[in-house]
Every structure is written in structure tokens, then in C-alpha cells.
């Protein structure tokens, strides 16, 4: 009894502490990368008090932000619903934290007992993943409604509609991998990719792209960051939050990013696989995190480049483009797996998928093309 408890602690505590500190590192990483993209330098002026480390490339900036968030006064609107106002940030933090244990992360010091207890070994780990992440939508709505302000309610409704409609392509593109790997057990999926990562098959690549775009929308990132669209009237569901509750929302968002990109790495990029893993088994954990940070770099890169989609375009994109494409991808993957003749099924699959994608996009925005201009003397 106590041994299982100890094993559980040995797994759970590093996950919670590790990912929370990675959250601090990622905020710094995001501001530095965005700065470098924009020809700036990024935060570099905070220095450790009482030590001679002067600036240390701004690595102490997250600590300063955290301290500021703690010190900030926590304002609760007068006629807000006190209980739900407090519960919303917690509920936005709990599901991503719970889902992190589902990722097949081989901890270097794990004994056999511990490995058996890891949730990744669950029979339907991926299904549980999606079930728990759907709780996020609730937290967003609760925040929007509890702060009893017309704009945050509308912002909350918009965010909920976006998350619900992007959950379907997310689940369908994961279904392709489950079909290919033959089971929902995360570790089994990683085993199935030992020969070849799913991203290198045409339908796997298509599924990865859909999964990645849908996960961007699920965590309100880059082209889909509608809720905190300051350029529109609705300032998003967390306008009435300040101080540490606001920081909790951000912690929740970043943990959700870790969770979703962790799942993407498990499903498409072969989990902890990588060169020299056979020699040093401890490396698989490093490779896993490296791939997650590669995906996070792409997210930050997107955030630095792309403008925002409008609400109806966002919905149209989900229902009229991603959903039919992921259904077709499911069909193509099934056919390819059944035929099992890669030299034939791959080119045909790639052609069908790309053709469908172009046809779909052409049917919606037929005339959206850059124009040429006439000159008058």
C-alpha cells in the first residue's frame, strides 16, 4: 500500500513541478523568440537582487512576473458569482495538469513498479485525454459567466463555440493514428511507431497538420487567439480577473499547450524515440521534451507572423474545411492500411488529400488572390 503511494508520488511530483517550472521557462522563451523575430532584444534588464549576476539574458524575468502577479490586488467584481469566479481558474488548471500524466514519458529513474503505475499504460489513454481536455471549455464558460460582465460573457461564448467546434477535427485526426496503431494505449502507439513515425506517411502528415491546427484553436493560440482579441470590443473571458487568478489562467493555458503538443509528439513523432536512445535510455525523456519544445517554437513562430481570423471565418474553417478533410483522411488511412502496399497507396493517398484540400479551399474563397495594379502617368 505505502509502496504504491511512494511510486505514485515519485511519478506525480516531478511531472507537476517539472511542467510548472517549464511554464516559467516557456514564457521567457516566448518573449525572447518573439523579440528576435521582431528585431528586438527581449527582456534582459532584470537582475538577481543581492548577487553580482547582472542580467543573465533576462532569465529572471518569469520570476519577476510571478512575484508581480502574487503582489497584484485580486479584484472580484461586486455582483460577480463569488464561488464560480474563484472556481473558474482552478478548473482551467486542473484538466491540463491531470492530462500530463497520460503522456508516455519514460522517467529516467523509473523502476518497474513505477512504470506499471504510469497512466500512459492505461487501455484507453487517448480517449481519457480528450475526455479531460473537454473540461477546459467549461472553465472558459464559467469564467465568462461568473464575472457578470456583458462583454466577458460574449467573449466566453465565442471561446466556447471555438473550442467545441475544433474538438471534432482534433479527435478525428487522432482516430487515424489509433486506427493505424490498433489501440489507444499511449505506450503501444509509441511502440507501433518504432519502425516509422506516423508523420512520414501521407495520411499521417495530413492528420498531424489537422491535429496541430486544431490544437492551436483548442488552446486559443496564434491565428485563433480570438478571446483576447484586443482589437475588437470583446476583451475575452478573463477581463475581470487580476492578480494570481489571472496567472492561473496563463498557467492553465501553457500546461494545455504542453499537454496537446505532448500528445502530438506521442501520436505522430514517435514519443521518446530518437538517436542514441538505445545506448542511454535516459535520453528518451530528453527527446520527448525536445520535440515538445520544437512544436512550441512553431507555435511562437506562428504567433509572430500571422494575423487573426475573424469569428465567422474561424467557424467556417473548422466546419467546412478541417472536418471534411479529417473525415476523408480517416477513409484514406483505412484504405491505405487495408491495401498495405506503400508504393501504391502513399502517392494515391497524398494526391487525393491534397486535391480535396485545394478543392475545398477553392470552393470557399474562389477569388481570394493577390491582385495586379495599373499605373497612371
Amino acid at each position: 500500500m505505502t509502496q504504491t503511494l511512494l511510486n505514485l508520488l515519485a511519478i506525480a511530483v516531478p511531472l507537476a513541478v517539472g511542467f510548472a517550472s517549464l511554464f516559467a521557462f516557456t514564457t521567457w522563451l516566448e518573449r525572447k523568440i518573439l523579440a528576435r523575430i521582431q528585431n528586438r532584444i527581449g527582456p534582459n534588464r532584470i537582475s538577481l537582487p543581492f548577487t553580482r549576476f547582472r542580467r543573465l539574458f533576462g532569465l529572471i524575468q518569469p520570476a519577476a512576473d510571478g512575484l508581480k502577479m502574487l503582489a497584484k490586488e485580486d479584484i472580484v467584481p461586486r455582483d460577480a458569482d463569488k464561488l464560480l469566479h474563484l472556481l473558474a481558474p482552478i478548473l482551467s488548471l486542473v484538466p491540463p495538469m491531470m492530462v500530463l500524466c497520460l503522456l508516455p514519458l519514460e522517467l529516467p529513474y523509473a523502476t518497474a513498479g513505477m512504470r506499471a503505475l504510469q497512466a500512459a499504460a492505461l487501455d484507453n489513454a487517448v480517449l481519457l485525454f480528450f475526455a479531460i481536455t473537454s473540461l477546459n471549455t467549461l472553465a472558459v464558460f464559467m469564467a465568462g459567466w461568473a464575472s457578470r460582465n456583458k462583454y466577458s460573457l460574449l467573449g466566453g461564448m465565442r471561446a466556447v463555440a471555438q473550442m467545441v467546434s475544433y474538438e471534432i477535427p482534433l479527435v478525428l485526426s487522432a482516430a487515424v493514428v489509433i486506427m493505424a496503431a490498433g489501440g489507444m494505449n499511449a505506450q503501444a502507439i509509441v511502440e507501433a511507431q518504432r519502425a516509422q513515425w506516423f508523420i512520414f506517411t501521407p495520411w499521417g502528415l495530413a492528420a498531424f497538420l489537422i491535429f496541430f491546427i486544431a490544437s492551436l484553436a483548442e488552446t486559443n493560440r496564434s491565428p485563433f487567439d480570438l478571446p483576447e482579441a484586443e482589437s475588437e470590443i470583446i476583451a475575452g473571458y478573463f477581463t475581470e480577473y487580476s492578480g494570481f487568478k489571472f496567472a492561473l489562467f496563463f498557467l492553465g493555458e501553457y500546461l494545455a499547450i504542453f499537454a496537446v503538443s505532448g500528445l502530438a509528439v506521442t501520436l505522430f513523432l514517435g514519443g521518446g524515440a530518437g538517436p542514441w536512445v538505445a545506448a542511454y535510455p535516459a535520453l528518451s525523456c530528453v527527446w520527448f521534451l525536445a520535440k515538445i519544445f520544437a512544436l512550441i517554437f512553431v507555435m511562437i513562430w506562428l504567433r509572430g507572423t500571422l494575423p487573426r481570423l475573424r469569428v465567422d471565418q474561424l467557424m467556417g474553417f473548422a466546419w467546412k474545411f478541417l472536418l471534411p478533410l479529417s473525415l476523408l483522411n480517416l477513409f484514406v488511412a483505412a484504405a491505405a492500411l487495408k491495401l498495405a502496399k506503400p508504393w501504391l497507396s502513399w502517392p494515391v493517398g497524398a494526391l487525393v488529400l491534397y486535391g480535396a484540400a485545394v478543392a475545398l479551399s477553392r470552393s470557399h474563397r474562389a477569388d481570394a488572390a493577390p491582385r495586379t495594379y495599373s499605373y497612371a502617368e
Binding site: R36, Q38, N39, I41, W301, T305, L306, A357, P370
Partner: protein, 229 residues
């Protein structure tokens, strides 16, 4: 055939290029154009050095200062309190009072010369209209003070700066202004000299004329002619 999503990829290629080259590219790295703020914590609060890549350059103009030649401020002050700049100043932020000595005679110096920096919009009209090159623009901007109601009202003694200081902040402009003043002074002297010469010549001619007149006239009233000369 325009590829699907090709535009977005091209855009991302641009930002990636900016990101990568900001680390390696020599010319791009130095124009990470975040300009260092001129003032460093702990740096002595005297004149901010005029470096090209900081917020204080050799050309920036901020608030007017009065110039004086030589070491003693009140001794070499150029301003003669002619109040042209007070009239011409668009936001009317200059206040001048003439200085009188004991007998009440106007000595060409301002007793009071106040500039309210909170009103001044550093437009340099006063420098243009000043016939005596007495007022120029400074490049320092660390002038914030604690009290709001009198702190920004700079009096004559705070405004007075030496011409040598002016050379330090705006070297090029100062040199040009000094050359122009030297040239004007030289012309004035030349004109002055010409005028003296002309007056002397006129005086000699008059004297010669008188001598000639005396010789032609008998000596009835010798003592008065000497007084008139």
C-alpha cells in the same frame, strides 16, 4: 498554380529568416534597433555623452539655454534683454525683465530671464529671432523635478551655460555659429574702421578748412576758434 497556404509559408519564411539572422548576420545584429537608453543607472548625472546610437545625439535639440563667453556667467552674458524672443515665442513661455544699475540706467543685461519648460515646445523660434546669438538649444533632457509648480520654471542662473559647454554638446553647430559671429564682428570692425577713417578724414578736412579760413581772415577773435575745433 498558387499552392494552398503558400502565402502563409512565405510569410513564415521571412520571420524565420529575421529570427535566424538576428543571431548571425553582422549588419542585422547591430541594427537590432533597440537603442540603449542614454542614462545608465549609477552613471554621474552630468552631461549625457552625445553618442550616435543613443537617445542624445549631436543634433538633438530639447530646451533653450543662455550663453555667456568667458568664465564669469554674468560677466560675459550675451543676452541684452531686448525681449524679441519673448514676443516671438509661440507658446509665450519666456519672461524677461531688464536690469538697471543704481542710477536707474538700463544696463544691457536681463535681471530676470525665466523659461517655463513645461510650456516650452522646443521649436527653436527664439534661437532664430535672437539677433545676439544669446539663446541656443540644449540636448539634455534629464530635467524632471519633484515639485510640479515651480520645478520646471528655469531661472536665469540655471539657464546660463558657457559657450565652451555649447561646443561640447553641439560641436558642428557651435563652430558654424562662432564662425558666423566672428565674421560679422570682423565686418562690423571693418565697417567701424571704415566709418572711423571716414570720420577722421572728414575731421581733418574740416580742420584743414578751418586753418585755411583762419589764414585768409585777420586775427580778431582767436580764443573762440580754438574752442570750436
Amino acid at each position: 498554380m498558387r499552392l494552398l497556404g503558400f502565402g502563409i509559408l512565405k510569410g513564415m519564411a521571412v520571420t524565420l529568416e529575421n529570427f535566424v539572422r538576428s543571431y548571425f548576420d553582422r549588419d542585422r545584429r547591430h541594427h537590432l534597433f533597440t537603442k540603449e537608453y542614454a542614462w545608465e543607472p549609477g552613471a554621474p548625472a552630468e552631461v549625457l555623452p552625445a553618442r550616435a546610437d543613443t537617445t542624445v545625439t549631436a543634433h538633438s535639440r530639447n530646451f533653450p539655454i543662455l550663453l555667456h563667453d568667458g568664465a564669469d556667467p554674468m560677466g560675459g552674458i550675451r543676452c541684452v534683454a531686448c525681449q524679441i524672443c519673448e514676443r516671438e515665442c509661440p507658446p509665450q513661455c519666456i519672461y524677461i525683465e531688464k536690469d538697471y544699475d543704481e542710477q536707474g540706467k538700463y544696463i544691457k543685461r536681463p535681471a530676470i530671464f525665466d523659461i517655463d519648460l513645461s510650456v516650452c515646445m522646443s521649436c527653436q523660434i527664439c534661437v532664430e529671432v535672437c539677433p545676439f546669438d544669446a539663446i541656443v538649444m540644449d540636448s539634455q533632457f534629464e530635467l524632471s523635478t519633484a515639485n510640479r509648480f515651480g520645478g520646471l520654471l528655469q531661472h536665469r542662473d540655471q539657464l546660463l551655460k558657457s559657450n565652451e559647454y555649447y561646443h561640447r554638446i553641439h560641436p558642428e553647430e557651435a563652430r558654424a555659429r562662432d564662425d558666423r559671429m566672428a565674421q560679422e564682428k570682423a565686418e562690423k570692425e571693418a565697417k567701424q574702421a571704415a566709418a572711423d577713417a571716414a570720420k577722421k578724414k572728414a575731421a581733418e578736412a574740416k580742420a584743414a578748412a578751418e586753418i585755411a579760413a583762419e589764414k585768409s581772415k585777420p586775427e580778431p577773435s582767436a580764443p573762440t576758434a580754438g574752442g570750436a575745433a
